[in-house]
């Protein structure tokens, strides 16, 4: 055993508290990263990857990016994974400290402000865990549940210096092709900092990843799988655990959906063994609820448990604890949906499962005699007709295929199961032009955007998050929901829920209006990814059955400490003393330099710093200064960057960063990287990016000849701004010539310039530089505020 191996074994054991690592876990840490990890379920893939990543970070491996982005198809998995990772990271802290390194922090990306913190520290190692909805939407520049103005920052940090882990691929749907395409684009389009991907699955069919642009890379990707030495006793006991397989007497057909729950419950009750766990996996939440209800009559003595994804975290946690405890004398019957296929660590002596696509069945079989703990275990599969009334959420072809495979099998021991060969589902594939189009986030005034949802998840799986509160007293200023309160629910069902009145009272949903800083009533239908507050008095959830639109009884509200939510981009830094503009410009430039050093951005250090130096020059605009000095007794002699005055600008939609960018171009057009710096300046709030347009309800100047955009008018005078001894912006008469299509007297238009930049630098690098300037601005502002406070 070499020294390196010992080091890894010690790290592994000390941080996870587990036995010595399996050989494959060691190999993962000590060999170059593979592209694929093909290891059966239950053999510690998560620990393997997180610990290998830490190990390589500890050893300064250049091929190990700073951010571990752990992407999972389901919320339940996110919580488990994040909890484990946090525990391990905590335990590994001394190892990092010893080497003078910052230990990794674990963040769950769940939308809202809670996950904003990590984005301010791009130089620190971090483990970001999230669902594919949260992560892929961000990777597509349309982050769900966050301010659209911060999209470019998250986009940048998830494509640069990021190590994407995709787990439980069989549940990812269209997200899988997207993950492969994004990896291909990162390799092709150039990133500011290297990134990589690793796909992990027990039931991986490589073809699923063979998308048009990734096909060739995939052929060259190394896969790490179990080797002969991995087949130690513990592993082989799992691989060879006996599981006899037969068809259940009950079947679901188009004719019996009503009687089916009772029929299945009766068969389950008869097969149940006292003192053991019986697991029943069905394909829909509604059927799980019905079978669970029916079992009350057929197996009144056994402990019953219902597991699906439509529970609040609080109830789910209680269930999981329950599941972990050994069953009592009468045994336990767990009714579950496909939520149990992934991650939930449960085993059973008897398993009933409805027919499902082959890869799902393999996962479900893994929940029977999981550790080889039983000498005998039975699996019965319940046939599901391919009729469209009963087959959803699955396709007839997938069910037919699985049925034909099952018919020849009498054992489901992992060792004897054939590999997955189902073809990849046909989904919409993200192409390079699509990604480039998504880079443009220009304010979408009509509330319409390019739709990214087909690249993330199947349309019928779209979820929102809901939580319940007592709204009889106050609606608008309810505190932010805590994780325990949130429950996932399908968009369609929430819509139906809202359409049903209870006791003549209309059901309403509220969403957080970050601009107004309060909860407001949802107009129209809910949209995927939203977080909605519901009135507990009007029902819709029970602790036993989870989300249930038909439930009318009041929902028990979860107590606990609650914080009032912050409004997005709110005035986090504005309530402070006055600060001179020159000082702020220099602070941001200095911070930008420090940041570039910290993230080792050498090539573009100068333009990033220069953008920092000039980013707020436009604040010298009289409109901005008027707002800043309105509450001051004495107007200062030089322009301010910040002041305690709060108020609206005399011109609505006034954007100082546009004035800054125009002032910069006016004095530096034609110089090297002048366009890049102009873009970085303009984009530093995420509000002026690729296009330059007036907003429809903007107040136009009186003179019809004057162009205007974002409150900046042609001919506005910007005074001289001295930037300490470093630089000086001469007085400028603003020209908006460049917003016009075509070559003009001032050269190419703004959109030509930005299109060229995007072409030259690519979306990943451009966003990266954009993010650095913004982060420098955030950080400088924060320390200025802390000093001032």
């Amino acid at each position: 055993m070499g020294e390196k191996q010992m080091a890894f074994d010690t790290l592994f054991q000390q941080t996870t508290g587990l036995q010595a690592p399996y050989p494959y876990q060691r190999r993962l840490a000590q060999e170059p990263w593979p592209g694929l990890l093909e290891v059966p379920t239950g053999l510690g893939k998560t620990a393997a990857v997180v610990l290998a990543w830490m190990y390589k970070r500890l050893h300064g491996d250049p091929d190990t990016p700073r951010r571990l982005v752990y992407c999972l198809p389901m919320r339940v998995l996110v919580e488990q994974t994040a909890d484990n990772a946090a525990r391990w990271a905590e335990a590994a802290t001394p190892w990092f400290a010893e080497r003078g390194l910052t230990p990794p922090a674990v963040h769950v990306l769940m939308g809202g402000d809670a996950d904003a913190e990590w984005a301010e520290r791009p130089e620190d190692p971090a483990i970001l865990v999230g669902t594919q909805d949260m992560l892929l939407s961000r990777a597509l520049m349309r982050g769900y549940g966050m301010s659209r103005f911060v999209w470019p920052v998250h986009f940048a940090l998830l494509h640069n210096d990021a190590f994407w882990i995709f787990d439980e691929l069989q549940l990812m749907g269209p997200g899988l092709a997207t993950s492969a395409q994004l990896e291909a684009f990162r390799r092709r389009l150039d990133t500011g900092k290297g990134s990589r991907s690793l796909w992990m699955s027990a039931t991986l069919n490589r073809d699923w990843l063979a998308t048009v642009d990734f096909r060739n890379d995939l052929a060259e990707s190394a896969a790490l799988a179990l080797s002969a030495t991995d087949r130690t006793e513990a592993v082989s006991r799992r691989l060879e655990a006996p599981k006899s397989l037969s068809r259940a007497a009950t079947a679901l057909t188009a004719n019996n959906p009503k009687d089916y729950p009772a029929e299945l419950a009766a068969e389950v009750a008869a097969a149940h063994r006292s003192g053991k766990t019986t697991l029943v996996v069905v394909n829909t939440v509604a059927r799980a609820q019905a079978v669970h209800d029916a079992l009350a009559d057929h197996a009144p003595d056994a402990e019953r448990l219902l597991v699906h994804s439509r529970f609040r975290a609080a109830e789910r946690r209680a269930q999981e604890e329950h599941l972990r405890a050994p069953p009592g004398e009468t045994g336990r019957i767990v009714v579950a949906t496909q939520a149990v296929e992934a991650g939930v660590d449960v085993t059973s002596a008897v398993l009933f499962t409805e027919l499902a696509p082959w890869s799902s069945l393999v996962q479900r079989f893994g929940r029977c005699n999981r550790y080889g703990e039983e000498a005998e275990a039975w699996i019965r599969w319940v046939d599901v007709a391919s009729d469209k009334t009963v087959r959803p959420p699955y396709e007839a072809a997938d069910l037919d295929h699985a049925r034909s495979r099952l018919e020849g099998l009498d054992s489901a021991s992992p060792g004897t199961l054939p590999a997955t060969d189902t073809a990849a589902p046909y989904t919409q594939v993200l192409r390079r032009p699509d990604l480039l189009a998504l880079f443009n986030t220009d304010p979408d005034l009509s509330g319409f955007d390019v739709d990214v949802s087909p690249y993330i998840r199947d349309a019928d799986e779209m979820d929102v998050q809901v939580f319940w509160r007592d709204l009889s007293e106050d609606v608008a200023y309810q505190p932010e929901p805590r994780r325990e309160e949130l429950c996932r629910a399908p968009v369609g069902q929430v819509r139906d829920y809202l359409r049903k009145a209870v006791k003549k009272q209309e059901r309403r949903a509220y969403h957080w209006d970050a601009l107004a800083g309060r909860w407001i009533r949802l107009q129209g239908d809910p949209r995927p990814g939203m977080m909605l507050m519901l009135d507990a008095g009007l029902g819709g959830y029970t602790a036993e059955r989870g989300f249930d639109p038909a439930a009318r009884k009041p929902v028990p509200v979860l107590g606990g400490e609650q914080e009032e939510p912050e409004s997005v981009g709110g005035d986090r830094w504005s309530r402070q003393g006055s600060l001179g503009l020159d000082r702020h410009l220099m602070d941001v430039e200095d911070e930008a330099l420090r940041l570039c050093d910290a993230v080792e951005e050498d090539h573009f250090r100068v333009p990033v710093a220069r953008a920092g130096r000039w980013h707020d020059v436009g604040k010298a605009h009289p409109v901005f200064q008027q707002t800043l000095t309105a509450c001051l007794e004495q107007a200062p002699s030089t322009p301010l960057a910040k002041s305690p005055c709060a108020g609206r600008h005399a011109r609505p939609y006034f954007r100082h960063e546009l004035a800054s960018a125009l002032a910069w171009l006016d004095q530096h057009d034609g110089e090297s990287q002048a366009d890049l710096i102009a873009y970085l300046i303009a984009a530093h709030h995420g509000k002026v990016r690729l296009g330059l347009r007036a907003l429809p309800d903007e107040q136009p100047p009186e003179d019809p000849e004057r162009r205007y955009a974002r409150g900046v008018w042609e001919g506005d005078e910007l005074p001289e701004v001295a930037i300490g001894n470093r630089d000086r912006s001469a007085p400028v008469t603003v020209s908006l010539e460049r917003m016009t299509l075509g070559e003009g007297p001032e050269g190419a238009s703004w959109s030509t310039r930005t299109a060229r930049l995007l072409e030259e630098l690519g979306p990943f690098r451009l966003a990266w530089l954009e993010a650095l300037v913004r982060i420098a601005d955030w950080r400088a502002s924060r320390s200025e505020q802390e000093e001032g406070a």
Binding site: R142, Q428, D451
Partner: protein, 727 residues
């Protein structure tokens, strides 16, 4: 920079417009990425540092690499056994380098069909699957063509209108035709241009006469070719076309794919958004009848810009061309007309050429050129007033009702006229088109009529809200200085909510069954104040007058029935009283003007009307708010008990003006009793000979304070005792 004018390209017909973009696109994607293009008058101009006219010809003849356009989902596309093969077969096996991409994509098309085991053109789900497969598998250079023909929004394929339903329009299969034309132009194996290709090219680019054209269909792009009324405008000779025209047209049409996007979020049906393309509207289309709206599938607005722009920039423009109006998407031509002004101004676009895709013959659609929409120098503030109509979804809902299958004819015609007027307003004036003020008056009149019409239909009331409160700028901008307008505006402001305060008995509630709830109007089918009906102005005004007095009595004389937000000058009132005004015009304007907040004042107008008669002066004190008399004409404190004009109105209504029981002597007596000072002589009111009903109506018209004082001063004396300066 070399300037290459292309007289063969023009804003109309559509084929020629697309051809212009085709040339720019091919040059920019080929020899000169920095090439620029713009419209000068009706001609397209290409600017290039690398090519001149001759080199452009050379490039197209020898180096141009055709974009692979295939549509394996279409029967007739060449991919199925019974299809015409004279294009696809030679290209599928072509050896020439310029056809390599085409050959590859044809091969991939066949592979995709084989993989999906399709032997006939697929339908529904199979078709969607095939499209997803192709979109996921074809090389990037073939995606643009795919996106120009079809967009997958969710599970369903949707078709941008430009190329029929996925490169197929009626019997014309574009992709197969394209391949056939290419084979006519070039040798598939050597890549060399045919002799005729050389002969035809000048015709396509420079508009020179072409020796002998080829047979083929150009479809919807040049309706002239189908033998329509424009036959002489576009291409000459029915269905004889220059293959270059067809090829370049399709190459240009692909530019519109660059921005084919899907729209996010689910409050509207999943939609495809295509640059500058909206639902069809009747407004402004001139000749198109209402029936055509039903059979036309879309409307496109093609930008005409005058400053040299690059291909990349043009693509960006088309991406932005998803028109938005305020905070909602523009869905049809009317919305678009209102929103393009802003986009055009920002972007330097001078005009848009409008096209409607109309179904005229069998299944095929024709791109019928509509008008050219000049972009105003800036969004007109007057046009900005139209935003008021979007509140509470009013305009959308109204238009939605009028489009309904069973919409009453009267509603349809009113809404259609409204749409035309709005379109006209957005389009701006100039070239002899009516000025904005006239458009606004038209709109106000129509809104007034619509309000009455909808208000009296129980089923429409459920679906369309009352007209939202309009800003006071409406009245100011619509003012034509006529006495009719000023009289109507003053009447409209009677007890109107003024200065932002809402008070009782607003004129609007007398014109239609509406009631103020909070700060918005709602329907009130039970309204007892809505006495206005068809018929003449005087009768209606008297009905309003009586009803106002009655309501005032029910309110125990709180306030005054004659309070008003805006007061007319004496000249306008005199013209009305003298019968010199057009009563119908007043009746028409009043309901519209009552929808707007009254402005503080309207510009003073010159008046040549005869002075108001003394009889008017005698009666007037009973038709003004008490506050106007207090202190000035009445001793302090007396105004509260000032008598009700009811008895006078009854007499005027009955035609009793003079004589013992006439309105004048009665007023004389009442005035004395109320504390007004009358002169010693004459001891009785002067004789008058006039239409007493008109007099009553004229008395209802609010008159400005200064003129009122002058009028009252003709008869009444100011009280002597209380003087403001005494203290």
């Amino acid at each position: 920079m070399k300037r290459i004018p292309l007289p063969g390209c023009a804003p109309t017909p559509l084929a020629r417009y697309l051809k212009a973009l085709g040339v720019l696109r091919l040059v920019a994607e080929g020899p000169d990425p920095e090439a620029l293009g713009y419209w000068q008058g009706d001609e397209f101009v290409l600017e290039s540092a690398r090519l001149d006219a001759q080199e452009l010809e050379r490039f197209l003849l020898h180096d141009y690499v055709p974009t692979p356009i295939v549509a394996p989902w279409n029967g007739g596309s060449g991919f199925y056994p019974k299809d015409r093969k004279d294009g696809i077969e030679p290209l599928g096996g072509a050896q020439a380098r310029r056809f390599a991409p085409y050959a590859e994509v044809i091969g991939l098309g066949f592979e995709a069909l084989a993989a999906a085991a399709l032997e006939t053109s697929p339908k529904d789900e199979e078709k969607a699957d095939l499209l997803a497969r192709l979109r996921g598998q074809l090389p990037e250079y073939a995606l643009q063509a795919l996106d120009a023909g079809v967009v997958l929004a969710g599970e369903d394929p949707r078709y941008p209108p430009l190329f029929g339903t996925g490169w197929n329009d009626g019997r014309l299969e574009f992709s197969n035709n394209f391949m056939q034309r290419l084979v006519e132009l070039f040798d598939p194996d050597s890549g060399a241009p045919s002799t005729v290709a050389e002969q035809w090219l000048p015709g396509a680019l420079w508009g020179e006469p072409t020796p002998g054209l080829t047979k083929g269909a150009i479809g919807q792009f040049a309706p002239g070719n189908a033998g329509g009324p424009n036959a002489s405008v576009g291409f000459e000779g029915a269905s004889l076309i220059n293959p270059w025209d067809f090829v370049l047209m399709l190459e240009g049409g692909l530019l519109f794919a660059a921005a084919a996007t899907r729209r996010l979020e689910s409050h509207e049906a999943a939609a495809m958004s295509f640059p500058f393309t909206v639902r069809p509207t009747r407004a402004g289309s001139g000749s198109a009848s209402g029936a055509e709206e039903g059979s036309s599938r879309a409307e496109m607005w093609l930008p005409l810009w005058e400053r040299p722009a690059s291909y990349a920039e043009l693509r960006g423009l088309l991406v932005e061309g998803r028109a938005t109006l305020g905070r909602r998407p523009a869905r049809d031509g009317l919305d678009f007309a209102r929103s393009v002004a802003g986009l055009g101004v920002d972007r330097g676009i001078r005009a848009f050429q409008r096209y409607a895709f109309v179904q005229r013959s069998g299944k095929a659609f024709l791109a019928a050129p509509l008008d050219r929409f000049p972009v105003p120098d800036r969004p007109s503030e007057v046009a900005g007033l139209l935003a008021d109509l979007d509140r509470h979804g009013f305009l959308d809902r109204l238009r939605g009702q009028a489009r309904g299958k069973d919409a009453p004819g009267r509603l349809q015609s009113l809404v259609r006229r409204l749409e035309d007027a709005i379109y006209g307003l957005a389009r701006g004036n100039g070239n002899g088109r009516p000025a904005a003020g006239q458009r606004l008056r038209e709109i106000l009149v129509l809104l007034g009529r619509l309000q009455a019409y909808v208000g009296h239909s129980p089923s429409l009331r459920e679906r369309v809200p009352p007209v939202p409160v309009l800003r006071s700028d409406w009245a100011v901008a619509a003012d034509d200085g006529s006495p009719e307008f000023h009289v109507a505006a003053a009447l409209a402001s009677l007890l109107q909510p003024s200065a932002g305060e809402l008070s009782a008995l607003p004129m609007r509630a007398f014109l239609a069954p509406v009631v103020l709830a909070g700060n918005r109007w709602e329907w009130d089918p039970e309204s007892r104040t809505a006495v206005w009906g068809e018929g003449d102005l005087l009768r209606n005004l008297l009905a309003v007058l009586e009803r106002r007095l009655l309501e005032w009595r029910w309110r125990e004389h709180a306030g005054s029935p004659f309070q008003a937000g805006l007061r007319a000058d004496a000249g306008s009132v005199a013209a009305f009283l003298a019968g010199e005004t057009d009563d119908d015009r007043i009746a028409e304007l009043l309901p519209g003007l009552a929808l707007a907040w009254p402005p503080e004042s309207l510009p003073a107008r010159e008046s040549a009307a005869p002075p108001l008669p003394v009889a008017f002066s005698v009666l007037k004190p009973f038709f003004v708010p008490g506050s106007l008399l207090a202190g000035k004409w009445l001793p302090a404190g007396r105004e509260c008990a000032f008598p009700d004009a009811g008895p006078l109105v009854a007499k005027l209504q009955a035609g009793a003006l003079e004589g013992g029981q006439g309105a004048l002597p009665t007023a004389w007596r009442m005035a004395r009793g109320a504390g007004l000072s009358l002169p010693e002589t004459p001891g009785s009111p002067p004789a008058a000979n006039m239409d007493s009903q008109r007099l009553a109506a004229a008395l209802l018209v609010p008159m400005n304070v200064q003129d009122t004082n002058v009028v009252l001063g003709k008869i009444y004396r100011k009280p002597e005792v209380t003087h403001e300066h005494t203290g």
